[in-house]
């Protein structure tokens, strides 16, 4: 199966390992992965700040970049959600609405793709430890992906999953919210870090780099002994 990777800008620049883990994982599952090099960003930072016209420029670019892909897979629930939103954003645009819809229809978040398209629930991963999973808001509420990551994680050998108390709470990232409304964001991320501690887990797993940078950044600042991992890296672990 041919899969185009949409790696997202955060992973491209800051979390390169997650990108590599995603490629390896998909290859292990028998996919032929390509990386359209002209890809940039889904446009979410501008879109969510109200700069819709400016965001549309990057959106159009992304539509073109992935126009010939069969499947677009991304290790980010939030960026995947953004692609799925494109038809809504270009509604009524004679040139772009249809093209946006085509992209949206073939876009999948990584775990959603593995479970729903590949039909795989055990990827053969091994990782020793006690972990909890952060259900990111866009992935859960807007993309509607709730079960796939849990199914996959429950089959990781050696990994004990603990429930995250108040898992429905937002971590306080919210893109530019994290820097515009720092004081509120701080309260939210503190609450999340507390929940992670309360879970008793030593590893925090998530499927969105934005949330993980936020929670992880706070964990580091507070010097908590909790390791933060992207789900792609967990599923690609073999030890």
């Amino acid at each position: 199966m041919k899969v185009s990777l949409f790696v997202t800008c955060l992973i491209d620049i800051f979390q390169t390992d997650v990108g590599l883990d995603t490629v390896e994982l998909l290859e292990k599952l028998g996919c032929e992965v390509d990386f359209p090099e002209k890809q940039t960003c889904c446009g979410q930072p501008a879109y969510n700040s109200g700069y819709v016209d400016k965001a549309k420029e990057s959106m159009k670019h992304m539509i073109k970049v992935f126009e010939h892909s069969d499947y677009v897979v991304t290790p980010s629930g939030s960026c995947g959600t953004m692609f799925r939103e494109y038809p809504h954003i270009f509604k009524g645009d004679p040139e772009w609405e249809e093209r946006a819809k085509k992209l949206a229809d073939k876009t999948y978040e990584l775990t959603q793709f593995i479970v729903d398209v590949l039909g795989v629930e055990d990827v053969g991963a091994k990782l020793n430890g006690t972990a909890t999973y952060h259900t990111s808001c866009h992935m859960t509420r807007l993309l509607g992906v709730t079960e796939a990551p849990m199914k996959l994680l429950s089959n990781v050998e050696g990994l004990e999953m603990k429930p995250l108390p108040h898992n429905y709470n937002c971590c306080g990232f919210g893109g530019t919210f994290s820097v515009k409304m720092t004081s509120i964001s701080e309260q939210m991320v503190d609450e999340k870090v507390q929940s992670v501690e309360d879970s008793g887990a030593h590893i925090l797993i998530g499927a969105d780099c934005g949330c993980l940078m936020n929670i992880g950044g706070r964990i580091d600042r507070k010097e908590k002994p909790i390791k933060v991992m992207h789900i792609a890296s967990v599923l690609n672990s073999r030890s």
Partner: protein, 475 residues
């Protein structure tokens, strides 16, 4: 009290809220109870999504045909001997209400809970005209006794106060000498207010749903105060926001079912009271005269715009009860009697961006509000829409942000520019990094690193590594 509460700027209000540890504890535990109540009630029905879709369909149809249903309503109210006044502004509404009260020579007005009367500042108008106005909802009454402390929640207005604070207010203002036990506090209020009810000459209520087909107004309460207000005084005045209407009893029933479940997880509240006109000939209790005041006060400007669905709101506060931002900053931070997500959408529409332009940004767009709304209002999308209006139509965005968004657009719409920008990242930020982390970042990163570390950009981007890997594998 008008819609606006307090004079402090947004940032100060937020910081006051964050510092108010009691309020935050109270709000957090209340949210927990509201949340489980709502979820249990929804689960019990089994097909909550169908209910929400029905609610959305009803609200959407009604607002789309609002002129028709309001005409029908007023026809039916007048047929039953009631009077209807259509008020475009708060002043018109207050003038009419004050005149009715004066004509009746009213001295004592008892009120049941009504957000719209807060919005139009009706109490003050009546007080200026020499009337005593008494709030009878327990929460509202507590706030009134406490020198008009503003409400912080649209269903439980005194949510920000604890029982010790309430005991002290009662003690200082009314000579209360018992404990802070909620039962004792409530009993005290019952006795005090019972006297007021029996003496009042005018009763003023809000309206949860007016029923167009029969000219009926319905009131949803637990305490029974709305029943008091509409049973004892000789004159009843009901004030409704113009969108608070349904076509028939059948839709009233559905929306009440959604409201009570979404608000507090109750199948029905203790009292749903449906009143049609004044009392009938031969009936002994109930008002002799009935006036319905239909208020626009800026709502009609929302019709026909992308924000129209905010008029579908049935004021259940489910969005407020799930909002993490509300939990941490409390209701007063919103600077409006309408707090939380619904307030962040509605307040700028009714009160203008000048006053409320920060509210749409006080959200992570986590969409918990949208998910909780029983009539499926896309609240987080409305917040986004506000941001768009502020930036693109009003041109009110900060210059720096505007520039960086321009740069963003250039950098992401063109792969060449993205390439240069992303390649420069490690160099630009390298000086600030230590052990792969940035703890004191420059520019916009400063706010980030105030509270958390930021990862240093990797020397090689993923795309560079990917290329390398491909080469190594001889692809």
């Amino acid at each position: 009290m008008a819609m606006k509460i307090g004079d402090k700027p947004f940032k100060e209000r937020v910081s006051d809220g964050i510092d108010d540890k009691f309020m935050r504890g109270a709000v957090s535990s209340a949210q927990g109870r509201f949340r489980s109540g709502r979820l249990n009630a929804a689960e019990e029905l089994g097909n909550w999504e169908d209910w929400r879709k029905l609610g959305e369909e009803i609200r959407s149809h009604t607002i789309e045909n609002l002129d028709y249903y309001l005409e029908l309503l007023s026809e039916n109210v007048t047929k039953r001997g009631g009077h209807v006044f259509f008020a475009e502004t708060a002043e018109e509404a207050n003038d009419y209400i004050t005149n009715v009260v004066k004509q009746k020579n009213g001295k004592k007005v008892v009120k049941s809970k009504s957000m719209v009367t807060e919005e139009i500042n009706m109490n003050e108008a009546l007080e200026k005209a020499g009337c005593e106005v008494i709030e009878s909802d327990l929460g509202e009454w507590i706030l009134q006794v406490d020198d008009h402390d503003p409400p912080s929640h649209i269903v439980t207005p005194a949510l920000h106060k604890n029982k010790e604070q309430i005991r002290d207010v009662f003690r200082d203002k009314l000579g209360y000498d018992k404990t802070e036990k909620p039962e004792e506090l409530a009993l005290f209020a019952r006795e005090k207010l019972r006297e007021e009810f029996l003496q009042a000459d005018i009763g003023i209520t809000g309206c949860n749903f007016a029923i167009a087909e029969s000219g009926t107004i319905s009131l949803v309460t637990n305490e029974g105060n709305a029943r008091m207000v509409t049973t004892i005084p000789k004159t009843q005045i009901t004030v409704m926001g113009m969108e608070r209407i349904v076509p028939t009893w059948e839709e009233m029933e559905v929306l009440v079912s959604l409201l009570t479940r979404a608000a507090v997880g109750q199948k029905l509240t203790s009292y749903i009271t449906a009143l049609t006109g004044p009392k009938q000939e031969g009936e002994v209790d109930g008002p002799e005269e009935f006036h319905l005041v239909v208020v626009d006060n800026g709502r009609s400007k929302i019709l026909g715009t992308a924000f129209q669905s905010i008029l579908h709101c049935i004021r259940c506060a489910a969005c407020i009860n799930v909002c993490p931002v509300y939990r941490h900053v409390g209701g007063h931070s919103y600077g409006s009697i309408y707090p939380g997500p619904v307030g962040a959408v509605l307040s700028p529409l009714l009160g203008g961006y000048e006053e409320y332009k920060e509210l749409p940004y006080a959200s992570t767009l986590c969409a918990a509000c949208t998910e909780a709304c029983p009539v499926k209002i896309p609240l987080h999308e409305h917040l986004l829409r506000h941001r768009q209006e502020i930036v693109e139509k009003e041109g009110k965005a900060p210059v720096f942000e505007n520039l960086s968004m321009k740069a963003f657009s250039m950098g992401t719409a063109s792969p060449a520019m993205y390439n240069i920008g992303s390649k420069l990242a490690p160099t630009a930020l390298g000086a600030f990094a230590k052990d792969d982390k940035i703890s004191d970042g420059p520019g916009p990163l400063k706010n980030w690193t105030e509270i958390r570390d930021f990862p240093a950009p990797k020397k090689d981007r993923f795309r560079d590594l990917y290329k390398k890997r491909k080469k190594e594998r001889g692809e």
